[in-house]
Symmetry: C2
Subunit: 332 residues, 2 copies
């Protein structure tokens, strides 16, 4: 794929039709999902899900110089744009089926576009998700992806099911992507810098873990705007509160090496772009471990309380958070 | 709806949360579709279609100063953005179920946003289509809508079914929206100018007609980039050609009054933004009339030929088209 026609040279420009023929159609054929009846090429795509599955939809826009640096490697951008959307499906416990890409771009640089497609394809292959449609318009660079997923009827993971006494859990570790923002333009080979940059540019949606949690966890969401803010959203939707222990929060070790424990912890709590899952678990830790199996890296960080609100404890005392969380229109 | 809180004054700004509470959630509740299990408020929306229906997806982006003037009345923009997407569903014969809106906007002007929502709601009510999700990001003004529709299994209208001898048909009349581009900034009360501006700002997706055509018409698409270009796409997808007669093309009378027959005809052939249906019909004209019923304004303009390519005849002679059609990256 992307090998015929001859690979484009830097600066070469395609027209809209060439992009469809050389990029979007091959991309739509490179990964095919059996529930897609018809992909790119008509006024709409057609899907047919089994009757015992619900459809789950999620959409996210990434704008240059707001959600990613405009000079980003287009291959990283392709991966990241799809990853943040798949992460929303994971948060619902849904398996990816198909996605659409609405791309707004100043000009049709063939080399850049080929890189973007390579990044999309790399992650799409891992999850078997098919490109089924899109739109390409001229304008300032931004991407809107919508993912279509499927979940057995009644098994979706919602934000609203947490109950007093449930364990509060997170997957993976936190803080690396937020720390990476300080090193985005740095091409150092330092291992810690490379690792946090990787966390930012190539997040891993936690789909496999999500499949195990559905029908088991009481509530879930993905952490995109920082653990503190996202967990508060889950608690509010469930009508409960939580007490979590800062000592138990899995801070990324590279973030800690680069910024020290205190600041790295704040990034883990209030930074964004982690794309790990935060969920509540109604049973015992033993049952949790049995459920997550080889998806080992799950950490219990606290418990759901009847009293609303989130309390973060440090050495048993409530701590103050550095910032309330991310608002696109407050923090440009 | 949009009456509590107090209507915003011009220039008043909301934060992201206020927009969700005052605009998107009420909009998502104002029109509800029975196949939507869960709309706005979680990581994804959930839908469950009947087993005998296929899901149809279509996505379109509208960029300020490319697809609409940035100074557009936001209510017109809301209508238009949803209309061009519903038109794609109509082209597939699908009934609208749900839509998502990814809005990129420089600032959260409450008055402007309320107008946008009013325009979306007006058209959404007519078609019973529910807002189920979206994203709001800061950046240069653009909207990406994705519509989800449903069609009985096997009855979707495709581009690829036209056969030699079929009638070539269009709905409504053509050319007004393209002519309107010359008068977008004109606030004259002249009836013809008002009419063509209305055609541009408030297109009417031909959903009712589309339901009648499914399982009957051999191929269909909607006319967004001009009859000549869009019909050629249908013909190419079907592996056939067509001869159409310029005298039979239903040119909008107001466009003709403003620009004269010759130029208005070129706009009908090569202008864009009409959002009428172009379709092929495998039976007789009598059967066509019986099928479309009170959706009377359907015009037969020619016939499908075995020989590929589109021939437009004027007084029996092939005519030359003013422009080949719209390419976002050729015609800024």
């Amino acid at each position: 794929m992307f090998s015929s026609p001859p690979p484009p040279s830097p600066g070469q420009s395609w027209d809209e039709r060439a992009c469809i023929e050389h990029l979007w159609q091959p991309l739509g054929q490179a990964v095919q999902h059996p529930w897609v009846l018809q992909g790119i090429g008509d006024d709409g795509a057609r899907l047919h899900l089994p009757a015992d599955h619900e459809l789950v939809l999620s959409v996210d826009t990434l704008v240059a110089d707001c959600h990613f640096p405009a000079a980003i490697d287009p291959e990283d951008l392709g991966w990241r744009a799809l990853a943040v959307n798949l992460s929303d499906l994971a948060a619902m416990g849904a398996q990816p089926v198909a996605y659409t890409l609405a791309l707004t771009i100043p000009s049709l640089d063939a080399h850049w576009l080929t890189g973007l497609c390579r990044g999309l394809l790399a992650l799409a292959r891992l999850h078997g998700v098919q490109l089924v449609g899109g739109d390409m318009t001229r304008g300032p660079l931004s991407l809107t992806l919508q993912v279509q997923g499927a979940v057995p009827v009644g098994q979706a993971l919602l934000r609203s099911g947490a109950r007093c006494g449930d364990l509060v859990c997170v997957s993976g570790d936190l803080g690396a992507a937020a720390v990476a923002l300080d090193w985005l333009d740095n091409d150092s080979n330092d291992a810690a810098i490379t690792a946090v940059r990787q966390a930012y540019f190539r997040p891993t949606p936690r789909c496999e873990l999500a499949y195990r949690l559905r029908g088991q966890a009481s509530a879930a969401l993905d952490i995109s705007d920082g653990l503190a803010l996202d967990l508060q959203r889950l608690l509010k939707a469930s009508g409960v509160g939580a007490r979590i222990h800062s000592e138990q929060i899995p801070v990324n070790p590279h973030a800690r090496a680069l910024q020290g424990q205190s600041r790295a912890l704040q990034q883990a709590l209030c930074g964004g772009d982690d794309y790990q899952l935060c969920f509540t678990w109604p049973g015992s830790e033993a049952a949790l471990n049995a459920c997550v199996g080889d998806q080992k890296q799950v950490t219990v960080i606290g418990r759901v309380t009847a009293e609303p609100g989130l309390v973060v404890l440090a050495n048993g005392q409530p701590m103050t958070l550095a910032q309330p969380g991310y608002d696109h229109f407050r923090n440009p």
